[in-house]
């Protein structure tokens, strides 16, 4: 029995260097900063949306917001979240400011999804930030590092939780396909119609669409292997938790899946496509070799 507990402890909270978790925090923070910068104007536009369209979900609904925020409050929430993404990236006052950033990001992006359309492209980023904000992710590679005598397992625990959240998100997407369409989803018909439907809708609504997806939609033979591969990648995602190497291979499979979605449906999942979403499966601190030495501590 003690061998099982010992295995679980090593597997679920392995000893890893502080720099690995800190590097991951810096990368997720950098992604958040870039993402919020690009989306800044778009996020501000919600101050002008008609109140009739407001359909609060998640934390926005739980906290009882029944009507849209005043325009100044929308500006404030976006600006504060953007500023906090900088402190999060730099690891500045992590214990206090990181949870504030996690809540601000959760709130701002939930508010964005509270207008009749949920942006599933942002779920994983928010969940990862929540884990990093609660973890000792700024014991190094941070501005004003506080002295710490922490066990190396604390860093490993956060990394494993991020990996768990990542793979289970894909697993859930696979389960949804089985619940909604059954194993017939793997035959390719559902995917073929989805790709054609999605591209046609974008084309008809004057948005960017994928000419490649449109071109391939007419060929029936392409879709069964694509559908089966996608479903296997999603349903088998928990296998990635069994070992570091299999986790990395699965990461490349998931990344390729998103490349395919981008190519065939013009749907961009920025966080997975940046590869930062899968960084918890890698010795991510190695990217620091490419930085000048004065930025490494």
């Amino acid at each position: 029995m003690s061998a099982v507990w010992s295995y679980l402890d090593r597997r679920l909270a392995p000893e890893v260097p502080a720099i690995r978790l800190a590097t991951l925090r810096a990368l997720v923070g950098l992604f958040s900063l870039v993402y919020l910068s690009i989306r800044f104007i778009h996020l501000l536009r919600y101050r002008d949306f008609p109140a009739a369209q407001f359909a609060p979900i998640g934390v926005v609904s739980w906290l009882g917001l029944e009507t849209p925020l005043a325009p100044w409050a929308v500006v404030a929430q976006v600006t504060v979240t953007w500023l906090l993404s900088i402190t999060f990236m730099l690891g500045f006052k992590h214990r206090v400011l990181a949870p504030l950033f996690a809540f601000a990001l959760l709130w701002t992006l939930t508010y964005r999804s509270s207008w009749g359309m949920i942006f599933h492209t942002e779920n994983l980023l928010v969940l990862h930030v929540l884990v990093l904000a609660a973890a000792p992710a700024a014991d190094t590679l941070a501005l004003r590092v506080p002295p710490s005598e922490r066990s190396a397992r604390s860093y490993g625990l956060a990394l494993r939780l991020m990996g768990l959240i990542t793979v289970l998100g894909y697993f859930v997407a696979g389960v949804a396909k089985l619940r909604n369409a059954g194993w017939a989803w793997s035959s390719g018909d559902v995917l073929q119609v989805q790709v054609a439907y999605d591209n046609l809708r974008k084309l008809a609504l004057g948005d960017f669409y994928s000419p490649l997806g449109g071109l391939l939609a007419r060929f029936d033979f392409i879709w069964p292997p694509l559908a089966a591969t996608s479903l296997i990648m999603e349903l088998a995602a928990p296998v990635a938790l069994l070992g570091d190497r299999v986790g990395r291979w699965w990461s490349f499979a998931a990344f390729s899946f998103h490349l395919g979605v981008l190519a065939l449906m013009a749907i961009n999942f920025p966080y997975p496509l940046s590869f930062v979403a899968y960084a918890s499966f890698f010795h991510v601190e190695r990217v620091l070799r490419f930085l000048p030495s004065r930025f490494r501590t």
């Binding site: 992006l109 939780l161 949804a176 046609l200 809708r201």
Partner: protein, 148 residues
């Protein structure tokens, strides 16, 4: 004790993430979701509400999502659906708003536009990309003038 806490923490997180998929009915929320996108078996016959602008001739310009709501096509589609749900008055209001944006636009392609229409068109999605681009069915939901 420590290991027990670690196992418990993993279990709680796993249940939270997987939970929305096993609820009845499954629950889509943020940031915990059942990720329903691409999962539904869709009818290839798709009815699309399309916003178009017309000038003197019969040629039409498809107006993008930014004219309807913002640059997010799904949010634009939701805006049109909501206007339809509000009946004729809702569609009139949306059409007038779009016409005002067209009027204010500096896009030279829209300079000669006289009217905005919200149409409901039915296509066969797969056949459309095989060259069958004529709508199987078409209905004009609302029409409004572009005031200059």
């Amino acid at each position: 004790m420590r290991t027990l806490l670690v196992v418990l923490l993993h279990t709680v997180v796993a249940v939270l993430v997987v939970g929305p998929a096993f609820r009845s009915p499954p629950r889509d929320d943020f940031p915990l979701s059942n990720y329903p996108m691409f999962s539904e078996k869709k009818d290839p016959r798709v009815t699309i509400q399309q916003v178009v602008a017309r000038g003197e001739g019969a040629a039409e310009i498809v107006l993008g999502p930014a004219f309807v709501a913002n640059e997010e096509v799904m949010q634009a589609a939701a805006t049109i659906r909501r206007a339809m749900g509000a009946g004729a008055a809702g569609l009139e209001t949306l059409c007038t708003d779009i016409a005002a944006r067209v009027s204010a636009s500096r896009d030279s392609e829209l300079a000669a536009v006289r009217e905005v229409l919200i149409l409901s068109r039915q296509f066969h999605a797969v056949k459309y990309f095989s060259g069958d681009t004529i709508p199987e069915h078409e209905e004009s939901l609302v029409r409004c003038e572009v005031l200059r």
